[in-house]
């Protein structure tokens, strides 16, 4: 067993154990400690993995492969390259913080259990190299998130949970069809039934088929990321999910979509990715601008951050489909950065909600005078989101725009407007919430030591990764440059009509 098996097994076993822990109500917090302990061990494992990770190679490391459902060529096949590694690190950090954040919950058993299951599923998704296995983990993330939103959420969370479920489930259905079709086509071509990613990368596809399969995969990932126009579940969901869950939803699970685009769309369909780059780049750019404009019109802080995420994830999509190492490394790094500052901002929003019971900007105001330290941390995180150089958001955003500029100049020229717009809506928001005189006499408690400790690792990462992102970049670069090479060197798609393509999917490639 390698560290990757443990990364998945540990929280999964934890999730099995937690429901069996029947403790008297006064000892409920033991369950929380149990969750925290597992999350911290996971963090330790992930850090150990990053230290042991070999630089200067793009091959998968810590690989583990066990034949699983042999008859269908399905294997328990895990491995991590630079992209997986940094996302595993992000997952481990954010889950540890989310576990600490959980407090005053009525039913710790369900809460901790679902969170652990979610961690296992996320870790699995980021490291699975077998398409079936990936699909299982990818789908598995849906279950705990649904229950976390619907049972522990704020306000109309039941409705939001169903919306979230329907959207992501529809995407997943397309993904499953895509995976199965690809596997059958590959089987038909080679006589070898397998779900292994490295094997399927060499499937030759007729143009129409390739495009349909690309779109099927992309649809699932577009919903999860989200990418415009598949984002409308996210404002409702981010607004009503409980804070620890939304930290994971926006911080980690959004990356599943972008990760899927790199790992599967680029690797399985390199020529198609080139062919459809214009589409994805355009959706990315539209997302950047549209998300920013709508965010500026929002009054609710939670929904505003959801739209801001749409805008920021647009940058990530841009970098992925720029096909330059600079852009792809930038996108990968930005996934980590976005995870960190989004987690931080949602923790802060949670603290505002706890104190005031609202996230409506018009009902807040003047908070900086009452809570200067809180405001100081908040503006630092906001500056990270704006992409102030010296803080983490800048490095990724800059690399993405640079990488896009040198390959797809005009998309970058339009996307750079996002740099202005993010300052507009974020500083306007900050002004409405923190500046001015207070609207009423109610107090607003400044940051408590416990809250400060929760935020400290995130704030430290925002600064450190802004000044010294090299430890991550040096692990990301070999992988991204290999993928860019893979996409660039793939032979162009042959021609074949769409009807034939549909037929080949329906018949699984059999003529």
């Amino acid at each position: 067993m390698t560290v990757l098996d443990w990364l998945i097994a540990l929280p999964a076993l934890g999730a099995l154990v937690v429901p069996m822990m029947s403790l008297p109500p006064e000892n409920q917090r033991l369950i929380r400690y149990f969750g925290i302990a597992i999350a911290l061990v996971e963090l330790g494992l992930a850090i150990g993995m990053a230290v042991a990770f070999k630089l200067h190679t793009s091959s998968y490391q810590f690989v583990t492969k066990v034949h699983w459902i042999g008859a269908f060529g399905i294997a328990w096949y895990l491995g991590a390259d630079g992209i997986s590694l940094v996302l595993v690190l992000l997952t481990a950090v954010l889950f540890a913080i989310a576990m600490f954040t959980m407090k005053g919950v009525k039913d710790y058993r369900a809460y901790v259990g679902w969170m652990l299951l979610l961690e296992a599923a996320c870790m699995g998704s980021f490291t699975a190299l077998d398409l079936f296995l990936f699909f299982v983990f990818f789908e598995l993330t849906l279950v705990p998130s649904y229950f976390l939103i619907s049972d522990f959420g704020l306000g109309a969370s039941g409705r939001a949970a169903i919306k979230f479920f329907v959207y992501t489930f529809a995407g997943s259905a397309l993904l499953l069809v895509g995976i199965v079709s690809l596997v059958f086509i590959h089987d038909h071509q080679t006589g070898h039934l397998t779900f292994s990613l490295p094997a399927l990368m060499h499937t030759r596809l007729p143009k129409g088929t390739a495009i349909l399969l690309f779109l099927a995969f992309a649809a699932a990932f577009a919903v999860k990321t989200p990418i415009f126009p598949f984002h409308t579940w996210s404002p409702d969901t981010y607004r009503s999910a409980p804070i620890p869950a939304v930290v994971i939803l926006a911080g980690v699970m959004a990356k599943l979509g972008a990760y899927g685009l790199i790992r599967f769309n680029l690797e399985l369909f390199p020529a198609t990715s080139r062919e459809l780059a214009w589409l994805m780049l355009t959706l990315g750019v539209v997302g950047i601008l549209y998300g920013a404009i709508v965010a500026a019109g929002e009054r609710d802080l939670g929904r505003m951050v959801a739209y801001s995420s749409l805008s920021h994830m647009g940058f990530i999509v841009l970098g992925i489909f720029a096909f330059s190492t600079e852009g792809l490394s930038g996108s990968t790094l930005q996934m980590v950065n976005h995870g960190i500052y989004t987690a931080a901002i949602f923790l802060l929003l949670g603290m505002i909600y706890e104190r005031r019971g609202t996230l409506d900007m018009n009902k807040l105001g003047g908070l900086q005078k009452k809570a200067p330290i809180f405001a100081g941390v908040f503006i630092l995180v906001v500056m990270g989101m704006i992409g102030l150089p010296g803080l983490n958001g800048f490095v990724g955003e800059f690399l993405i725009l640079l990488g896009t500029f040198i390959t797809h100049r005009w998309w970058a020229v339009v996307a750079v407007l996002g740099v202005v717009l993010s300052a507009v809506y974020l500083l306007w928001m900050y002004q409405r919430v923190f500046h001015g005189e207070a609207k009423d006499d109610r107090s607003f408690r400044d940051l408590a030591p416990r809250e400060a400790l929760l935020l400290l690792p995130l704030v430290a990462l925002i600064v450190v990764l802004g000044v010294y992102p090299i430890p991550l970049l040096s692990r990301i670069n070999p992988t991204t440059s290999a993928i860019v090479h893979h996409v660039a060197s793939a032979p162009a798609l042959g021609n074949s009509g769409a009807p034939q393509a549909v037929a080949s999917i329906v018949t699984g490639g059999a003529k």
Binding site: A12, V66, W68, I69, L117, V136, L140, L142, V143, F147, S150, R159, I162, K163, F165, V166, Y167, A170, F228, P229, T232, I293, V294, A295, A296, G297, T325, E326, S329, G330, G366, K369, P389, G390, F394, L399, L401, L402, G403, F405, I406, A412, V416, L417, V419, V420, A423, V424, Y425, L427, Q431, F434, H435, G436, V467, Y468, I470, I476, N477, S481
Partner: protein, 625 residues
């Protein structure tokens, strides 16, 4: 070049100490900590200068490399600082003026509720400014560039309880971001063409750029510079920036940050030298900005707004110098301007301070006798900015105008008219504020305004001496052109020199002197006994040519309406409704009754978990076998 590290390191250290302990150190200790940090930085800058001076002229570029910052693909950036004649000049006047303004602020900000916070921002600002001027590559310059922008945002909205201050800070940041797009795109173009963003590699290789690309790069960076250095059409933020405490206006919005755009252009002079059309554009925008802002300055009634428009105008002169290839003249004006403009702001601050924060010149008057040091230092600053010989402005502005004349007579004509306006509007300020009849009784409610404490007047006196004699830095006589000789290795062949006839060499400075004196005399005639002359203060100029209200009506209101439309109409109805069957499916699902349906979803999900558990069990069993 470790001492270069100290120049940058002291303000950073000061910032960190104040951030951690500032509140405990309190008032005035925190101010002293901040001031000492900057003073030490100034000393280190002097040492750096001496070290470079001891080297041969060709070897005065020293580099301090700390560590790799960003690397991806072919793109490398290091945290690398550069001491060369240009950056040393910048360092010296930035730390020198900043130290004086820190000292002054101890007095000015006394008893402010957030006294220590002020110095936290101020030290961070100086650190960022030093990074900006010493960075050895474009992205690191950008770090400083944005750092000073963020500090400017925090300091303009320092009194954030006032909605106007909060809005002004935000506006400054956003308008600067518009310029920043140019900075980023310009950097990308440089990288695309020269495969590097380090000055050590880019500047010597600039001649390899195709002419069209060089033009594009120059214009993109000028967009950035126009934002930061408040040129047309982006200058409106600088007026609102006056919401910040006056020492901030002096340091950031007059002496240092706003000149960053001019510095950037000078730094990129090898590229500008290839971009003739862009250079001409810069010269024209510069001189038009100078004129337009000087006109507006003649009609302002808020003392700080007069000075702010004056700053815009002077920055226009500097850009005129950049555009005509007179980089040394631009830097010379930048340095002398830092002295006299910081002085004008600090003297104004001294007046404002003694009048309980009153800023309207209509409610001042006859203060010369009550505040003699403030009045005299302001008069010295006025004579300097007006270009009355032998004060510093005569030499620095004169050398800009001389090169403008060499480039194109029309540029010179507009420049000279603006010089007349400069002498006039500053004269108006001096006479209305310090002479005439006292009009401040209502403001001060009986008690008499008095001279500011020594901690504020000492910086005034030091700056007044500097403003008076800084012309010595670069006298227009061979052998005495110190700044020119010091800087010319940096600019090399980019530096344009125009040949003027012997008579022109006499007539041009003579014209400058006459025009300056004329402005002084006109101001004296018109304003010595008046505080208000409606005919000379038309509303269009008072409102700054309505540029700001135009932006407000179009971009600000239009943008807000667009955002609200997107949020309330487009997203919830069109996008949410249009994303195919998904949204319909959702409605249909919802229609079946939430209870039943959510029950269905739940059981589906639980079955899924169950299935996965069974599958995992299977793999465990088969792995064990």
């Amino acid at each position: 070049m470790l001492v270069l590290g100290l120049v940058i390191g002291f303000p950073l250290l000061g910032f960190l100490v104040l951030l951690a302990f500032g509140k405990r150190i309190g008032d005035p200790g925190a101010g002293w900590v901040g001031t000492i940090a900057i003073a030490l930085s100034f000393v280190a800058a002097v040492v750096t200068w001496i070290l470079l001076l001891s080297k041969h002229a060709g070897q005065r570029t020293q580099v301090l490399r700390l560590f790799q910052w960003i690397h991806a693909g072919g793109f490398h950036v290091n945290i690398t600082f550069r001491a060369d004649p240009l950056s040393v000049v910048m360092m010296l006047f930035v730390t020198g003026v900043a130290a004086l303004i820190h000292l002054y602020s101890i007095g000015y900000m006394k008893r402010d509720a957030r006294f220590h916070q002020f110095f936290v921002y101020l030290n961070l600002f100086v650190f960022s400014m030093l990074v900006l001027v010493t960075a050895n590559n474009l992205p690191l310059t950008f770090l400083g560039w944005e750092g000073v922008g963020a500090c400017s945002y925090w300091l303009i909205s320092f009194w954030f309880e006032r909605p106007s201050a909060a809005s002004a800070g935000k506006k400054a940041f956003i308008i600067n971001r518009i310029g920043d797009m140019g900075f980023m795109l310009g950097t990308f173009l440089v990288f695309e063409n020269l495969h590097s963003v380090s000055y050590s590699q880019v500047l010597p290789a600039a001649h390899r750029l195709p002419a069209g690309t060089a033009e594009a790069i120059a214009l993109l960076f000028f967009l950035a510079a126009a934002g930061k250095s408040a040129q047309l059409p982006l200058f409106t933020w600088l007026l609102d920036a006056m919401e910040g405490p006056t020492p901030v206006s002096a340091l950031i919005h007059a002496a240092t940050m706003v000149t960053a755009g001019v510095y950037l252009m000078a730094r990129l002079s090898p590229i500008l030298a290839l971009a003739h059309a862009a250079s001409t554009t810069i010269a024209i925008i510069g001189v038009v900005t100078a004129f337009v802002a000087a006109m507006a300055a003649t009609s302002q009634t808020d003392i700080k707004k007069i000075v702010a428009f004056s700053t815009v105008s002077q920055l226009g002169y500097m850009m005129l110098g950049i555009g005509t290839g007179a980089y040394v003249a631009a830097i010379f004006l930048m340095v002398t301007h830092a002295f006299y403009k910081a002085l004008i702001f600090l003297s104004s601050g001294s007046v404002i301070h003694s009048l309980d924060s009153e800023q309207s010149i209509r409610r001042m008057g006859a203060l010369a006798k009550l505040m003699p040091i403030t009045a005299w230092t302001m008069i010295i600053a006025w004579l300097s900015i007006a270009g009355v010989p032998p004060f510093s402005g005569f030499f620095s502005k004169g050398s800009i105008l001389e090169d403008a004349f060499g480039r194109n007579e029309l540029l010179w004509v507009v420049g000279v008219v603006t010089a007349l306006l400069t002498a006039y509007y500053m004269g108006r300020l001096v006479f209305v504020v310090f002479y005439g009849k006292p009009r401040w009784q209502e403001v001060t409610k009986g008690h008499e305004p008095h001279e500011s404490p020594r901690i504020m007047t000492i910086p005034l006196i030091v700056l007044a001496v500097a403003a008076a004699v800084a012309g010595l830095l670069n006298l227009p006589y061979s052998g005495l052109r110190f700044l020119h000789n010091w800087l010319s290795p940096v600019f090399g062949s980019a530096l344009v020199s125009y040949h003027l006839s012997a008579s022109e060499k006499v007539l041009l400075p003579a014209t400058d002197a006459v025009v300056a004196l004329l402005g002084v005399v006109i101001a004296w005639r018109l304003w010595r006994n008046h505080s208000e002359r409606k005919a000379l203060e038309p509303t269009v100029l008072l409102k700054g040519w309505y540029l700001d209200s135009f932006y407000d009506r179009t971009f600000a209101r239009g943008g807000t309406a667009l955002a609200k439309f997107g949020d309330r109409v487009v997203d919830p109805t069109i996008i949410d409704g249009a994303v195919g069957g998904v949204a319909w499916l959702f409605r249909w699902v919802g229609g079946l009754g939430r209870k039943v349906q959510s029950g269905l979803v739940r059981s589906y999900l639980l079955i899924m978990v169950g299935g996965i558990v069974v599958m995992l069990a299977y793999v465990l069993v088969s792995a064990a076998r």
